[in-house]
């Protein structure tokens, strides 16, 4: 399995100007994208609207076809919006890369298993929905060396990552909040893109 922070770091290292839409563990203030990002103004974290990171990423990919868009999704998050696999592959944006951080649990609520944790075939679902390419990595070395091939593919690309279940048990009211709010991110990104 891949450590969450190693995974976001490896992806960030290859972003080359891409917009990144992280959610859940990939957006964690302790070990997610906020800790390692090389270009914060091009990060658009999703915390409200559960399950909708991939939908937001689709909108961005359609609006900015000349920029790569990486969605760093969670397995519980994707389960809440499974139709997105079809919605996304129907529009088939060539610049969209949908990473799934699969730890088989709801990490932010204490580590309960997600439904179908041991039987769901994520790659099969993405292939069946019509994604252009599907990849799977369960160790950091393969991910690091494989990213170049992944990002050379035309999207939409689905990348399944088996990551470590880093479970959050701290009561919500005592958790550290991101220093950069979602509202601020929605102001920063258009300016960074030069559209507002």
């Amino acid at each position: 399995m891949i450590n969450n922070q190693d995974a976001v770091k490896a992806i960030d290292n290859k972003r080359d100007g891409a917009i990144i839409v992280p959610t859940m563990n990939a957006n964690n203030v302790h070990f997610g994208l906020p800790t390692v990002t090389s270009n914060q103004e091009m990060d658009l974290p999703v915390s409200g609207a559960m399950g909708k990171a991939s939908s937001l990423a689709l909108g961005l990919a359609l609006a900015q076809p000349d920029k790569k868009v990486f969605c760093l999704d969670g397995d519980g998050s994707l389960l809440m919006n499974l139709g997105t696999l079809v919605t996304l592959s129907n529009k088939a944006p060539k610049n969209l890369y949908h990473f799934l951080f699969n730890n088989n649990v709801y990490a932010v609520t204490g580590g309960q298993p997600i439904p179908g944790a041991e039987v769901s075939d994520w790659e099969g679902m993405a292939k069946g929905a019509g994604y252009a390419s599907v990849f799977s990595f369960d160790n950091l070395e393969d991910l690091t060396t494989g990213l170049e091939e992944v990002l050379a593919c035309e999207g939409p690309v689905f990348i399944h990552l088996r990551v470590e279940p880093e479970v959050e048990n701290t009561p919500v009211q005592f958790r550290q909040r991101p220093s950069r709010t979602v509202q601020q991110a929605f102001k920063d990104l258009p300016q960074a893109l030069g559209v507002k």
């Binding site: 409200g48 559960m50 937001l56 909108g59 359609l62 609006a63 997105t84 979602v182 509202q183 929605f186």
Partner: protein, 169 residues
């Protein structure tokens, strides 16, 4: 609302959308909008983004907007209920100037409808503090322009309730 003679035609709405420079319609068709779909598919200035479930529309529209485009969503009132968390967590929380065209299933001026979808629609919009306009005839179509102006001035979602079924051109 079922009418024997349609008084609302797709060109009226589509022309208003074009006048307001709308770039994308994110939608899930409902029983009232078949003829509008055919015309929209043929319209080169507006890109249609179909979804599997209405909650997706709010997030896709947010992504389009933050990326520099000017989308609207087009869904039935039942889809507004389903989209609740997305309207809260994106549209309202990020101050998005989003116009939501909402098929007003069950609407009738007679005041008695068996359809709970209609009975809840305006109450739900009130609860979220979302202002809205009503379109029932071609002459009402310019309320879309009012909704767009208000959405961008206030930086909030605004609803446009479509209270009649479309007729063909």
């Amino acid at each position: 609302m079922t009418t024997h003679e349609a008084v609302l035609h797709p060109p009226a709405l589509i022309n208003e959308l074009k006048k307001n420079d709308i770039t994308h319609i994110v939608w899930l068709p409902d029983s009232e909008t078949n003829f509008m779909y055919q015309m929209l598919q043929a319209e080169p200035t507006i890109d249609l983004v179909p979804v599997c479930r209405e909650g997706e529309t709010m997030a896709i529209a947010a992504g389009l907007w933050v990326g520099g485009k000017k989308p609207v969503v087009l869904i039935q009132n039942t889809g507004i209920f389903e989209s609740g968390d997305s309207i809260r967590g994106l549209g309202l929380d990020i101050n998005q100037p989003l116009v939501m065209l909402i098929g007003y299933r069950g609407w009738t001026r007679r005041g008695a409808t068996p359809d709970s979808a209609a009975r809840f629609t305006e109450h739900i919009l009130h609860a979220w503090g979302i202002n809205y306009y009503l379109i029932e005839t071609d002459e009402d179509a310019d309320r879309i322009g009012l909704a767009v102006e208000e959405a961008y001035r206030t930086q909030r979602p605004v609803g446009v309730l479509i209270g009649a079924e479309f007729g063909s051109e």
